[in-house]
């Protein structure tokens, strides 16, 4: 296996493994919301923290999905014209459009980091009755973006390799392809 393939696999695996764990947060969100219903409706003593904590968990869940979805080719695109091109042409186009990907992701990374850092420094809290610190959630933003950035970068390297020599498309896999799975 080439070094490039190892690199690609490594990054994809990282996103995959992390994603599998974070995916379980859906149980946490369900449990928190149900807990609040029980406390408020049955016990008449709503908690101050459940709805906010649910929101936090959701934020982490949603932002951290970026890398996982990318590792599974799950970010939808319009394949109308694109799918008619040859593998090599697709790779060349992808190299070109990756510029826009990097512009977005790097700008987002810079300001998300600065936002998280500012939150940490100023010990920002939510000013709710529970009033928890915000930075632990904000810190997931740069982390999630770095994961997306890594996945995008291995994809770019693979596209360059394919653009140079289309045969590489056969040997280099850039994602976990679960797209062939037909619904049961």
């Amino acid at each position: 296996m080439s070094f490039l393939q190892k690199l690609i696999n490594g990054v994809t695996r990282l996103n995959d493994v992390l994603g599998r764990w974070i995916a379980l947060l859906v149980f946490v969100m369900t449990a928190l919301l149900l807990l609040e219903v029980v406390c408020r409706y049955l016990l008449n003593s709503p908690t101050v923290w459940t709805s906010e904590l649910t929101q936090f968990v959701f934020g982490v869940y949603a932002i951290m999905a970026g890398g996982y979805v990318m590792a599974h080719k799950g970010h939808v695109n319009v394949d109308l014209l694109y799918s008619r091109f040859s593998v090599r042409t697709q790779a060349i186009i992808d190299v070109f459009t990756s510029v826009l990907f990097y512009i977005f992701i790097l700008a987002f990374l810079y300001f998300a980091s600065s936002m998280a850092w500012e939150s940490f420094q100023g010990s920002e809290t939510t000013y709710s009755a529970w009033n928890p610190p915000v930075w632990p959630v904000k810190a997931f933003m740069p982390l999630a973006i770095v994961l997306v950035l890594l996945q995008g970068t291995v994809k770019l390297l693979r596209d360059i390799a394919v653009a140079i020599n289309p045969d590489n498309a056969l040997v280099l896999k850039d994602s976990i392809d679960d797209g062939t799975e037909e619904p049961h």
């Binding site: 994603g19 599998r20 995916a23 379980l24 859906v26 149980f27 969100m29 369900t30 919301l33 149900l34 609040e36 219903v37 409706y41 929101q55 959701f58 934020g59 869940y61 949603a62 932002i63 999905a65 970026g66 996982y68 979805v69 799950g74 970010h75 939808v76 695109n77 319009v78 394949d79 109308l80 014209l81 694109y82 799918s83 697709q90 186009i93 992808d94 070109f96 459009t97 510029v99 826009l100 990907f101 512009i103 977005f104 992701i105 700008a107 987002f108 810079y110 300001f111 998300a112 600065s114 936002m115 959630v137 904000k138 933003m141 797209g179 062939t180 799975e181 037909e182 619904p183 049961h184």
Partner: protein, 436 residues
């Protein structure tokens, strides 16, 4: 540079990069950043991060993973399959019967959920394979799910209607009441379309051959399949209506119901739970990353002066009040092709509403037209949230082109619906006048 020119370039580059196959979320985000750089400067990138952070903190979106997860569990346990088997046994003789059943489930889903994406993805998971399996035409199936999945914002509760009320000052209760009949109207129209089309083109939605139709004992036995889904509906809707939960919390009740079903079906296993949670994660992630970038995109467009553009247009339309209303509808329709609904509302409503009121139209009625129009916007190519959500859930044998083509007749049906509500405003205004 004029706002007209910016608009052209902004949406032009969006379409260009979309056609080049870059995923939607990166196109929206990237185009926003580039245009912000030229119209505002690099400081403005902070707004992109800030919009994404705000989206992470949007409580109504929590319902998305919950409803999607509920659907995944129902699909994996076989509850959904049995439900469709039951429908086929009962209505198998009717051409298009399953499509009608799907639309009814969509309407029920819409009453449980105030947002649109969750229903499309959920129904795409539950209904699509069952209908394809029975030889339904894929475009008929796609169009049906796309259209029905969008009703969540028209049939109360609806997050968009609440936003409409906040921006315009119209009563939420009146908006909710006003959405009910138009929602039913759209359902009836869509059902009628399917029945008529399938009557003449039976190959689109084949009926069960006479000799294969089930006997009465078999039919009655199959009815058991309805019990669990009904129970879930009662749990979700019941807890909203009885004041036990807010709509978002009700989604968690739905998950609870789905998990109970898994136990009843003896399918509850670590394997199934992990599997369902991972698919939910992937679909929710797809939806959320589109929303992240879409919110940044519409904020960017607003910062460039989008509102002034429409202010200028609206005041210079020739013809009477109806010409103005129709122009507004057309503007919303086109904006909905490229912008997220919240953005459209923030840009157009402050400009449109004073004009609508000054011409003596009922803002509640206008709000219903607005919401239906936005629904159509969700499902019209090239950009529409439902289109992309559906793409994220369908098997790879279905292309974006299939989805694009599939919506055309359904969009026409919805336009007929809008026309009817314009001609007979009572469809929208009857219930609110009755209750308030």
């Amino acid at each position: 540079m004029s706002i007209e020119m910016i608009t052209l370039l902004f949406f032009g580059s969006l379409l260009l990069f979309l056609v080049l196959g870059l995923p939607l979320t990166f196109v929206l985000g990237g185009v926003s950043v580039v245009f912000l750089y030229f119209t505002w400067g690099p400081d403005a990138f902070y707004m992109v991060a800030s919009q994404i952070w705000s989206t992470m903190g949007s409580f109504s979106l929590v319902a998305i993973p919950l409803f999607v997860f509920m659907a995944m569990v129902l699909e994996r346990t076989g509850v959904a399959k049995d439900l469709y088997r039951m429908m086929f046994l009962w209505w198998g003789g009717l051409r298009g019967g399953l499509a009608i059943g799907t639309l009814v489930i969509c309407a029920i889903f819409a009453a449980m959920c105030g947002i649109s994406g969750a229903a499309v993805v959920a129904m795409g998971t539950i209904a699509l394979p069952s209908m394809l399996e029975r030889g339904y035409d894929k475009r008929m199936v796609l169009g049906c799910i796309n259209t029905g999945g969008g009703w969540g914002i028209l049939i109360p509760p609806s997050i968009l209607m609440i936003l409409y009320s906040l921006i315009t000052g119209v009563s939420v209760g009146q908006m909710f009441a006003a959405g009910v009949l138009p929602g039913l109207l759209l359902m009836v129209l869509t059902c009628a379309y399917i029945l008529i089309r399938c009557y003449f083109q039976p190959e689109l939605a084949p009926a069960l051959p006479k000799e294969e139709r089930a006997s009465w004992p078999e039919k009655l036995k199959a009815l058991r399949a309805v019990i669990l889904p009904m129970l879930i509906v009662v749990m979700v809707l019941g807890s909203i209506i009885a004041g036990i939960t807010t709509p978002t919390e009700a989604a968690a009740m739905g998950v609870f119901g789905a998990l109970l079903s898994a136990v009843v079906y003896r399918k509850m296993s670590w394997e199934l739970m992990r599997d369902a949670s991972i698919r939910t994660f992937k679909l929710t992630g797809m939806i959320m990353w589109i929303l992240f970038a879409a919110h940044a995109f519409s904020a960017a467009y607003q910062s460039m002066g989008a509102q002034e553009l429409f202010e200028g247009w609206i005041t210079s339309i020739p013809g009477g009040p109806w010409a103005v209303i129709i122009t507004m509808m057309v503007i919303i329709f086109f904006l909905a092709m490229v912008l997220d609904p919240v953005g459209i509302m923030l840009i157009t409503l402050p400009v449109f509403l004073p004009v609508v009121k000054a011409m003596g139209f009922d803002p509640v009625w206008f709000g219903i037209l607005f919401v239906i129009n936005m629904e159509i916007g969700y499902m019209t190519p090239p950009f529409g949230f439902n289109l992309f959500y559906l793409k994220g859930v369908v098997p790879p044998s279905i292309t974006m082109k299939d989805i694009y083509v599939s919506v055309i007749p359904f969009v026409l049906v919805e336009i007929v619906g809008i026309a009817l509500i314009m001609m007979f405003p009572e469809i929208a205004t009857y219930l609110p006048q009755l209750f308030f």
